[in-house]
Each structure stands twice: as structure tokens, then as C-alpha cells.
Subunit: 206 residues, 2 copies
DNA sequence: GTGTAATATTGCAGCGCCTGCAAAAACAGC
DNA sequence: GCTGTTTTTGCAGGCGCTGCAATATTACAC
């Protein structure tokens, strides 16, 4: 029988009590980071297709089975997308943002990606390997769903929420093709949305 | 040694001389169609993930190796995207279209899909299985490239061509979520692009 | 320190997707 | 029928990914 009186696991109790993470948690983060870095280095060197998961595991010194305990796929280990990009702060900023729904979404999407510690290296990697763009967009599908439900909080209809997200995600895809990594993503997103505007107003249909 | 005097194969010689296709060619089309129909029926019934390629082959009465002689993947057999959606007629219509670049692209993209013999059934299938939308968009990537080069023929810059295609493809993705299959795709594309316009003009940024 | 529960890592067996290669079958033209 | 071409098929195998059970490691109470 167990000695603890509740049904929460150690990690939850730890997070709730605000204590520093124990050895176990530190090792997990360390393993996760080792896998990610090995994936990054090898894929940057040989490409996504040419790099096998076994090679990554060998470089990270873990078994291939452990790899899948941390990431569901090779691309996930490389890109390491946040599980919940819509943080409470992002949600607050979204509701406080001035301008239309699309522009508010640019803020959220842009800052969630800019906030990553290695976002500069990621941009450079994607710049060197354009084929990763399609991989990225397919991995972003569940993130996209979160953006849709966020957008629905300000949209007049669910359709309008999906419409706005579709626009911003299309703009996000375009930002990947640009090479100037020093400009913050939010700015670049807004620029592209403005270009969308220009393209649509170019000439009205008959 | 061979009895023909040139290095072209039978199919090319046939197409060039305009003769009716022989038994060999007819059987190929027949096999292709059998695989496609089996894939369509089984996936519609059990879903994309739950249907294995071996099941499709069994239903189509071909070996699994033959399957891959016709289609590179399960989804490709189901959707059977045209290899060249930009026909000469589509190109002519594109250049003759009035209105801006985006609107002209709507014509091409819309008609290339509406022209399919089974486009009504495909729409209904996608309506019943929304998860196919992501599969479809990843398969459309090379088609997208063709649209980009087509757009470049009328665009003032390559960037503008890619921008316009990104917009139209985003609109195309939205059309998949609608259920009214009787309205032609071109019309629905234009409607969504107009909604894009409205969403962007909703309120200008500060 | 020791014992026990919780958690992480690993090996293994296995399914499914997909490819190259070479043999066998089917077709085309004479 | 015979021959060359094309298609089909079987086979071997790599790779991605998952479930399961055994093992090793950490956490905690005593």
C-alpha cells in the first residue's frame, strides 16, 4: 500500500507546493534537452529525412524507446513546440489588444514564438532547411485549434474566429520564408497581414 | 535488339499518334480506378487511420507492391490529385481573368477542383471526415508550387505571387469546412476571400 | 540506513508504411 | 509462335511508432 494520502503524483504535488524540482525532474529536463539538441544538430547537418531516430538516440545516449517517451515524432523533437502556447499572459494581451481580431491574433501568435529561448536558432535552421516548413505547419495543427478557441472569445461568430486564424496562420507560413531574423515575429506578421490587405484591395472583381 | 527505331516508350508513341489506347493502357486505368474506389469506400467506412493499405489491396485485388506502383501513399490513392492542375485552358483563363491577382487565382484553383468527375463525392467524403483536410493540404504542396509559378506570370514580384497563393490556399482550406456542396467551388472561394477582406478591414491597427 | 511506493528507462515483439530488386506474368508487334 | 517491352508480384528490409513487461532509479516514510 502507498504512504501518501492523496491521489496526486509527485510532480503535481511539487508544482503545487512551489518547491524546487527534485533530482528526478531535473534529470527529465536534462534528457529532454539532450534529445532535442542531438536532433537539432544532426538534422541541421544531414537533413530531416536522412537522419534516423536511432542516430539521434545514439547521440543523446538514450534508448530509442525513451525517445518516444518524450516526443511523438522526429519533427516534434526537433521543433519542440510548446504544448500550450496560449498562456494566461497571452490571453490577457489578446483581450487588451487594440485593433481588429486579426491584429490581436498577430500579437499572440508572434509573441508565443518569439518568447522561445532558441527562437533565433530555430529561424536560422528553418531558413537553411525550407522543407521543414511543411513539417512545422502539420505539427502546428493542435496549436491552431487553441488559437481558434482563443479567437472565439472575441469573435462575433465561430466562423469569423476560424477565418481570422486561417489568415494569421497563412501569414505565419509566409514569415518562415523570410531571412531577416532580427525583426521580431510580431512585426513581421503585421507586415505580411498588411500585404494581404494590399493584395486583396489590388483590384476589385467585376 | 529492339524493333522500334526511337527511344520513346509505347505510351508516348501512342499519345503522340493520337491512337486509341490499347489493352495495356486500358488495364492500367482500370487498375488505378479499382485501387482508388476501394480506398474511397474503405476509408469512408472505417476512417483513414483504421484502414490499412493491405485491406485496400485486398479489396482492389492487387498486390500491395502494385499499390505503390500507382500511388505513393494511402492518402494519394484516396484523393487522387491531378498531377498537373494547371492545364493550358486554366492558364488562358487565368491571364484573361479580370480583377486582381487573387481573384484570378480563385478561378484557376476553383475550376481545377470543380472539373473533377467525382468532386461532389469527394466534398461529401471530406465533409464526413474532417481529419482529411490536413492530409489534403500536405498533399497539395506540389500543386501549390505550380500555382505559385503560374501566379508569377502576372505578379509584379515573386513575393507577391507567393502571397496571393497563400491567401487563396487559406481560402481553399476554409471551403473544406463548408457543407453546401452544390455551390461551385469558385463561388465559395470568392466568398471567403471577400470575408478575408472584411476581417482585415474590420478595424485598422493603431 | 532500510524498505516500499512511484516513476523512468530499457528491451523486445510487433504492426504498418514504403522502397529496391529481380523473377514471373501479360501484352505488343512482327 | 517469337521477341522485346511493360506490368505485376514476391521478397527482403529499413524506418517510424506503440504496447507490454522487466529493470533500474528516485522519493519518501520510518
Amino acid at each position: 500500500m502507498t504512504t501518501v494520502s492523496d491521489d496526486r503524483n509527485a510532480a503535481e504535488r511539487n508544482a503545487e507546493s512551489g518547491l524546487e524540482p527534485g533530482l528526478r525532474e531535473r534529470k527529465k529536463q536534462q534528457t529532454r534537452q539532450a534529445i532535442h539538441e542531438a536532433a537539432f544538430r544532426l538534422i541541421d547537418e544531414h537533413g530531416l529525412e536522412a537522419t534516423t531516430i536511432d542516430q539521434i538516440c545514439q547521440a543523446a545516449e538514450v534508448s530509442s524507446r525513451t525517445f518516444f517517451n518524450y516526443f511523438p515524432s522526429k519533427a516534434a523533437a526537433l521543433l519542440q513546440l510548446p504544448e500550450t502556447p496560449v498562456t494566461p499572459e497571452a490571453r490577457a494581451r489578446f483581450h487588451a489588444a487594440r485593433g481588429g481580431l486579426v491584429w490581436a491574433l498577430c500579437d499572440v501568435v508572434g509573441s508565443s514564438s518569439d518568447g522561445r529561448p532558441d527562437h533565433v536558432q530555430m529561424k536560422q535552421l528553418i531558413g537553411r532547411h525550407p522543407e521543414l516548413i511543411t513539417t512545422l505547419s502539420s505539427l502546428m495543427l493542435d496549436l491552431r485549434a487553441q488559437y481558434v478557441s482563443l479567437a472565439a472569445e472575441r469573435a462575433s461568430s465561430p466562423e469569423q474566429a476560424e477565418l481570422a486564424v486561417a489568415l494569421v496562420m497563412a501569414a505565419f507560413g509566409r514569415t518562415m520564408h523570410e531571412s531577416d531574423s532580427e525583426v521580431p515575429l510580431v512585426t513581421r506578421l503585421r507586415r505580411i497581414v498588411e500585404q494581404f490587405q494590399g493584395a486583396l484591395d489590388e483590384r476589385l472583381p467585376e
